[in-house]
């Protein structure tokens, strides 16, 4: 029996698998667009005209983070922890699929869905709400950050599902973390600077804080010190790596 690697067939399978989870689609396509619209309509009317564009850009940047977190973290966690609880990944491994191949196919399928969701979000903002034209570099940096956030949090989600091995616990922990991160990083309408000092320090550990609070300042060009953002990516990346290593150790197959 040959080792089975990640193939197009495997990615198609994971896309079909993903399409069976309607909650992911809701959080990827419906929630960010409507949430943005509600925030712009509800709060935007109180914002003076000269600041409206800046306000809209901040909302657009903050809510854009809902997509990687919903698709790659919550959506993936819901799907994969359910599979782990039913021992489907073990069954796949017994059929010769390496852990690496499984996670690659899942990552690819989720990235495809995330790309479509980001595109839909961009179109919605351009057509329905109206968005300030970004500097090319700022736009590319935002895209890169969204994908990095998505990839890192998919790894975290994968690790948590393998550690807890129960859908209910994994999903509960992820939901708690999701809303905590959204509040602390300024994605729920409260700026990080308005939070107590301790929470501000927690927020500084996550790249989402910088995207929500600072990216609007150079959206149409300008200077920005990326070092804290890079450090936060390194921090969450390292945490995700440690969690994944621990999860792999827990679910390892001994070499005969």
């Amino acid at each position: 029996m040959n080792q089975k690697r990640c193939s197009l067939r495997m990615i198609r399978y994971e896309i079909r698998n993903l399409n069976g989870n309607l909650m992911t689609h809701f959080f990827a396509f419906v929630f960010p667009n409507f949430f943005s619209l509600i925030l712009v309509k509800a709060i935007g009317s109180d914002v003076p005209g000269e600041y409206l564009q800046q306000f809209k850009t901040e909302i657009m940047l903050s809510v854009s983070l809902v997509i990687p977190l919903s698709v790659m973290f919550l959506g993936y966690g819901a799907l994969y922890s359910n599979e782990v609880e039913r021992e489907i990944p073990l069954r796949m491994r017994l059929f010769g699929y390496q852990e690496k191949s499984l996670i690659t196919a899942k990552l690819a399928a989720h990235l495809i869905l995330m790309t479509i969701a980001v595109l839909a979000y961009g179109i919605f903002w351009t057509v329905v709400i109206g968005i300030a034209k970004p500097a090319v570099s700022s736009f590319l940096i935002l895209l890169l950050c969204l994908y990095l956030v998505g990839a890192v949090f998919l790894v975290v989600s994968h690790a948590l599902a393998n550690i807890f091995r129960k859908f209910s616990i994994t999903f509960g922990v992820e939901m708690f973390f999701y809303f905590l991160v959204m509040i602390v990083c300024g994605m729920m309408g409260v700026r990080t600077s308005q939070l107590p000092d301790a929470l501000q320090k927690v927020a500084a550990l996550f790249p989402m804080s910088y995207i929500c609070n600072d990216f609007a300042s150079f959206w149409q060009g300008g200077q920005y010190n990326f070092m804290p953002l890079i450090q936060s990516f390194l921090f969450v990346g390292a945490m995700a790596g440690i969690l994944l290593l621990y999860a792999l150790y827990k679910s390892r197959r001994a070499t005969v």
Binding site: M1, Q3, K4, S7, R9, M10, R12, Y13, R16, N17, N19, G20, N21, E83, R86, E87, I88, L90, R91, M92, L94, F95, G96, Y97, Q98, R253, A254, T255, V256
Partner: protein
């Protein structure tokens, strides 16, 4: 030699689930039946072979766990797509382009299930799906762990017949774990008898039968008339509702049979009954242990 187990111990917490203290070897092409009651260590042995549990001791083989095809007691797959997609993805092939797979599907009469989702399949159909995919692996070592558990008698029989028919012409080594003696009679040529995590007996089916039962056994109903009739013969341990007589040779067997005919006694003859062999092997093992 395909695989040798040496001093294998698996502990679950403080409890020892499996302790194989003598070398056990599987040769290429052998059909090994693993039998034992609940808690005997059968599934633990399979998990140790696959590296799914931590163990002490050695399992010497050139095979990696990924070179073994394994049926285990779970048949869960993604519920969001038709079985055909699952089958083609797991086997990384297309039914249309794979003649062997098409033959296998038809061999198992599985065509009507292909468009259904996994939740719409019966227990037997789910078992068939896993078995079909395991067979398609054509691995050097294939393990079936309680392949018929949860199936009704008729489906069990049919599945075992299919398995026996398929592997008749194959050279793969089979490790079949089962509760059912008749399944192993059909599939195995060697028996590994486990009890409470220990090896009670291991060897070719016929050799073990001769060691523990003689050249043949005659089995009859356990009632007063039959007990009186068989009092002077060598009675083996057997299930409570039966009497099993050991025959050392043909002459003795003929003598007993003619007695049964004269008294109009219904009986069954066997020279490979795994159940009677297992019961007597266990009795002898514990008798010996007590004596020591």
């Amino acid at each position: 030699m395909l695989l040798t187990i040496r001093n294998l111990t698996v502990d679950y917490g403080k409890q020892t689930a499996l302790m194989i203290d003598r070398p056990i070897s599987f040769e290429r092409g052998e059909r090994i039946g693993v039998i034992g009651s609940n808690g005997a260590g059968k599934s633990t042995l399979v998990k140790a072979l696959l590296g799914l549990v931590d163990y002490k001791g050695r399992i010497e083989t050139d095979l990696t766990p990924d070179e073994m095809a394994v049926h285990m007691q779970f048949n869960q797959y993604a519920v969001t797509m038709p079985v055909k997609v699952i089958l083609e993805t797991i086997l990384n092939t297309s039914i249309k382009e794979n003649k062997k797979l098409r033959e296998m599907i038809s061999f198992f009469e599985f065509e009507p299930c292909l468009k259904k989702k996994i939740n719409a399949l019966s227990g037997g159909q789910k078992q068939k799906l896993t078995v079909l995919m395991v067979m398609m692996q054509d691995a050097k070592l294939t393990v079936y762990d309680e392949v018929t558990s949860g199936l009704d008698f008729e489906t069990r029989q049919k599945l075992m017949e299919k398995l026996a028919e398929w592997y008749r012409k194959k050279e793969s080594t089979l490790l079949v774990v089962s509760h059912y003696y008749e399944e192993l009679e059909q599939l195995a040529d060697k028996i590994l008898l486990l009890d409470e995590g220990k090896v009670i007996a291991y060897g070719p089916k016929e050799e073990l039968f001769t060691t523990y039962c003689g050249s043949s056994v005659l089995i009859l109903e356990n009632n007063e008339k039959n007990r009186d009739l068989t009092r002077d013969f060598s009675v083996l341990h057997s299930p409570q509702h039966l009497i099993a007589l050991s025959c050392r040779n043909e002459e003795e067997e003929l003598k007993i049979i003619s007695l049964f005919i004269r008294h109009n006694v219904s009986f069954k003859r066997s020279s490979s009954d795994i159940e009677i062999m297992s019961i007597n092997a266990k009795e002898k093992y514990y008798e010996k242990k007590e004596a020591v």
